[in-house]
Subunit: 306 residues, 2 copies
């Protein structure tokens, strides 16, 4: 699990009244502004469906209020350097950033552990089901491994590497929601339990290998492992025509490895391209609706007084 | 393992002299005619590289001669309803058909077991390494499973099904030879033995499942299993941009399942399309250089006096 060097900014400024005003113009085209008080919700947009993006902010405020047993009205402003809902874990980044910003505005400095935990709770309550990985990586940054214990606990293990990991991310509109993809894999597992469990185990084994080669700065092998990982995800049925096209376009252009990332069903492809980043980006652009160049292993959450 | 309803015709007519004349105009564009005697080889073509296609015929004649301890000069004529060298097991079909035709012309009626065995030997000697599956399926036809014992023995188990299995085959020029692909997977296995063995095991498990659903005529599940199989082959690195495009084109057009077939590195995609065969063929044609519609489970070798 690696962070990428693209940020979500959440600014929280306390209000004098009990209202919550969320301005999240970056979250979805055409963006939206939502103001709600205990009595009323005002959505300043034409598109009701954009509301789903606000669910994470809304839930983060509720959960922080409950955790700290305090509620204060607040203006929340969200800016994003990434497409939201593309499978890059942006909902997790929004969740942890809102938890951190809102609690800080109210005068509390939560630990990273608290932020990651509350952020995970936000994702679980909004989505019904959530992995703790995205919220943990958004909080801690860098490269980490997560080991789950039961339903609500996990351990974080940082992976030390000095590798320079330039990547290109390609994005295509999603055709399915994370929840639907999770459900689809679950059904596949009901029909072919041994095969699907076997694939999951191999994905785990590849992650173990990736950790090793990352410590050794062996990017060629890291690329190979990404390719194998992609094939296994394809076998689980979470790839799409467009994602597959972008993966092969990236490899054809010289990427050391390329794979879909996130829950699939559309979303993002990540290509490791230490040398041919320009060519890889051009090739991915032919098939994707947006690309961005960045690095892996950036810092986690940063809290600043403004 | 299933036969397809496309045939290779090998005609053998004994000559009065000791020469072997091979006319294999279908085997490769631009085709070729080779005549060889113990003293001389005459190749009537501009393209020396086409020779590789003749190697199977040549070797089949040698092996039959040795097995029967008889050599007679012969005119061999080969016609093919399939692209040769595309990963459809055509080299196996050529091998067994030549074994059967040449031995029959000399007055011997070999059993299917003998034909399959000698055909396998042809493939092994030409390629250095060969699975017995292609030669067995070309000989026996239908749906069979093969269990290997050691290096040179196997058992054949027919699979009973009454399913009607219309498929579309899409073909793209190969970028790598079978031998190179086998070598590439071997190298991947050297680097990641557990993962590659795990993938191989899952491919085996999927074949077991496929046998079950075939008995039940459950084409929806057969399609799902084909898709999973494709993902696992992709994880082994034997897919290509073009094969992957054809696979997803076929699925988008309504195929129940689509997968690469053969050793990969280019070659063929097979799509199960009981209902939308026309649409699937059109979609695959957009990405492949040739498509053909056929059925699975056709008869094996047929020997006729002409």
């Amino acid at each position: 699990m690696a962070s990428i060097n693209k940020r979500i900014y959440v600014k929280a400024i306390l209000r004098q009244d009990k209202a919550v005003r969320i301005s999240a113009l970056d979250l979805k085209v055409p963006g939206l502004i939502v103001t709600y008080t205990p009595e009323e919700v005002l959505i300043e947009t034409d598109y009701g469906e954009s509301l789903s993006a606000v669910a994470y902010l809304n839930k983060a405020i509720q959960i922080v209020s409950k955790y700290l047993d305090t509620f204060k009205g607040v203006d929340i402003e969200v800016k994003s350097e990434m497409p939201v809902g593309a499978g890059l874990g942006t909902s997790a980044a929004v969740s942890v950033a809102t938890v951190a910003a809102y609690s800080y505005a109210m005068g509390y400095e939560l630990t990273k552990k608290e932020i990651a935990k509350l952020g995970w709770q936000v994702e679980k309550e909004v989505q019904g089901i959530a992995s703790p990985m995205d919220t943990a990586i958004s909080t801690y940054g860098g490269f980490i491994r997560i080991q789950l214990f039961g339903k609500d606990k996990y351990d974080i293990k940082p992976i030390a590497t000095t590798a320079d990991l330039p990547i290109v991310i390609g994005y295509v509109e999603r055709q399915a929601k994370t929840k639907d993809m999770v459900e689809q894999v679950k059904k596949l597992k009901d029909r072919y339990p041994d095969v699907v469990d076997g694939i999951m185990d191999l994905i785990g084994a590849i992650t173990d290998e990736a950790e090793k080669v990352l410590r050794d700065n062996d990017l060629v092998r890291l690329g190979e492992l990404m390719n194998m990982n992609h094939g296994l995800l394809d076998a689980l049925g979470v790839s799409t025509k467009k994602l597959s096209e972008m993966v092969y376009a990236a490899r054809s252009a010289g990427a050391l490895g390329a794979k879909l990332t996130g829950a699939g069903g559309g979303g993002c492809v990540i290509a490791l391209s230490p040398e041919k980043q320009e060519a890889v980006e051009v090739a991915m652009n032919l098939y994707g609706s947006m690309t961005l160049k960045t690095d892996l292993g950036a810092e986690g959450i940063v809290i600043k007084k403004v």
